[in-house]
Symmetry: C2
Subunit: 407 residues, 2 copies
């Protein structure tokens, strides 16, 4: 008997019909001889609606109260899922984050899970009751209700799966799995049957939209196999698992794209130790997340430092750079929000040479200029003009043999 954690996102429980469909699937999973723990998000757009309501009430939003407000969403969806389960003869009971023992820090609206105390969930399972747990929410040690921020329901599911030693954590969503590229950009993108945690991490970090980085990191750290699949077709999707030596690795598994970031260049920085550190310390103090960082020294006297930041942080980052420019002795600060990033990811890169060359050649063949490059052992990212990103993804997808062959 396997223990399966099934997480259903907002679209999967978006209306009464979908909720009944979820209940049928849980019942089927149980009939097949499994124990199931369900984790749910709030229904569809209900979180947005609650925030809109809050906006009408007050421009002031104490984070503690924002959390209290938003956690109403999962409360509704999980109670409805339990009703639908009871209706198909599955004994079920809902549990808030607090009741499920999801202990977090007190950082409202973006709390981190510190510990899971799953004794009520275990008791329910022992009693033949299917627990339906509110995703996205927890409770601080002071007894205040917290939320886990974006992608929090996935984190809840993975954390519960880890705490219970589940055999798999199934993430049900409105897509059928993880694809070799965004199917809206690459019509010939293929669904991947199997991706390693490392690959998934790189994909999530570089624009893959199916899973958030946090939940993948958590799953890898606790070695919880993930299975991303559709609650609309119920077909088998993509497994995300520990890399297996026997796995025949694709050289390149996926091509991702991201146009959510902007580029900043601080030019003419004296090439002395500690100068870059000073700049990045200031940016960190402002809470600005840097992504790609590239530094090139041309003449051993000055250097240009470029990096990318989320577009929302661009103004704050530019201000910070302007402020420290004099101290650094830099000549100029320029920004560019018309850039995009294209990335190839593949565990097989580690043991294959020539991948970088092939990527650059492919882009050059299509006259796409590369402005920044960064690499890891299983990833190569290039910053290009924003209006060339989609083309870059398509040509790389073809060049690395990822296109689905029309049958």
């Amino acid at each position: 008997m396997a223990l399966v954690v099934q997480k259903y996102g907002g679209t999967s429980v978006g209306d009464p019909t979908r909720i009944r469909s979820v209940a049928q699937h849980v019942a089927k999973t149980i009939r097949e001889g499994n124990q199931v723990v369900v984790v749910v998000s709030a229904m569809g757009k209900s979180t947005d609606e609650l925030l809109r309501l809050a906006n009408e009430v007050s421009p002031t939003r104490p984070p503690r109260e924002t959390d209290m407000l938003l956690t109403a969403g999962e409360r509704i969806s999980m109670a409805l899922v339990c009703m639908a389960l009871t209706d198909v003869d599955v004994k079920a009971a809902s549990f808030t984050g607090s009741q499920a023992g999801i202990m977090t820090d007190a950082d409202h609206t973006k709390a981190k899970i510190l510990e899971i105390r799953p004794h009520r969930i275990r008791e329910a399972l022992d009693d033949g009751i299917t627990p339906v747990i509110a995703g996205f929410q927890g409770v601080s040690y002071e007894g205040n209700i917290t939320t886990l921020g974006r992608g929090g329901s996935d984190v809840t599911a993975v954390a519960i799966a880890a705490a219970l030693g589940a055999d798999v954590c199934e993430i049900y969503t409105d897509v059928t799995g993880v694809y070799s590229a965004d199917p809206r950009v690459v019509p010939l993108a293929r669904r991947l049957d199997r991706v390693s945690f490392d690959e998934m991490l790189e994909m999530a970090a570089t624009g893959g939209r199916v899973l958030m980085l946090r939940s993948v990191e958590f799953a890898r750290r606790h070695d919880v196999p993930l299975h991303v699949r559709s609650s609309f077709t119920w077909e088998s999707g993509t497994w995300i698992v520990e890399e297996d030596i026997s796995m025949e690795e694709a050289v390149v598994s996926a091509v991702t794209d991201d146009t959510s970031e902007a580029k900043i260049t601080v030019a003419g920085v004296p090439d002395r130790p500690g100068v870059a550190a000073k700049l990045f310390r200031e940016l960190a103090n402002r809470g600005i997340n840097l992504d790609m960082i590239v530094q090139n020294t041309n003449d051993n006297v000055t250097t240009d430092i470029s990096f990318t930041v989320p577009k929302d942080d661009l103004e704050a980052a530019r201000e910070t750079c302007d402020k420290v420019r004099g101290d650094l002795g830099a000549t100029s600060v320029t920004t560019d929000d018309n850039v995009g990033r294209v990335t190839i990811v593949g565990a097989g890169m580690k043991s294959n040479v020539g991948i970088t060359a092939k990527m650059f050649e492919t882009l050059a063949d299509h006259n796409i200029n590369i402005e920044m490059i960064s690499t890891s052992s299983i990833r190569i990212s290039c910053v290009v003009r924003a209006d060339r990103v989609n083309e870059a993804v398509r040509v790389l997808h073809t060049a690395f043999g990822l296109d689905v062959i029309a049958s």
Copy 2:
């Protein structure tokens, strides 16, 4: 410094504008030198909407999950009230029933409060924070979320007021107080400045719609002064207090009406000890609440037993009577759902004779036939034809000098 518990019903927090208005009033009460504890219901029709949603999902509604679902309502309203309070510079924090220490039995959807453990509320007050508590909800000793049934938010407010030793429990609603009759029936009805607990109990039991019996009973038992008032006009309303010997009692304070019940008559019952008991035991076993019970023996051989039940229970009550009719030796069971009750209530009745006669004469003068009578020391109820109830209320209201004199 007085400690004031303010309870705001669904219409009082029905939309963002009303919520801001509530926040202003709380802030004003605090500026006047009081400590305030707020208790809120769910916004307007949100409970109905949640039940409608549940209905679309499943005909099966486990009570535990119904409670989980419905308690989302106060969660939303209390978080929004806290945001609005923060916006007018009142430090506020919301507390679920569980966080406020409202311990109940495990009787889902109609739980009873067994104990209040208000240490978090006290701490908040000590820290200069205005607690905003979810009405209607509590938690069982097993840690399951419960709701208190109809009128539950008032019960929460009274219970919190009792536990904290508050000076007053203010019940804010969409009417300006308790009236000498339903103003929709009697345009000349007057607002009562002061009503005793006993009178209020009789009024609540006989059709008064402002307060539920439970909360008045709770307030009387714990001697919590109630002040029923409007959150639309904010004017002073009706105080419900322990009877004061020095109070100059009105002979009759109010006339109430109720057409929610039906009458059942079991005729030709042998007039022997234990026969009526057998009938009422059967009805109690079916969970049917009886109200007025009248028995008349005509000939010392058989007797007719009549009683009223809520119309919703009429079918079940009739079935039960039919089932035991043979055992009882009764000749017939008849039902009549075309009846209504008119009641006069007044603490002054105790020391005044002739009230009953005056009531009967007044009804007779208007050719209104009395079908059943029941009395307490401060109340007389008559069952009449349903289509004569409104007229009966008006003529009694005039006869007992309750009409507002047009100025």
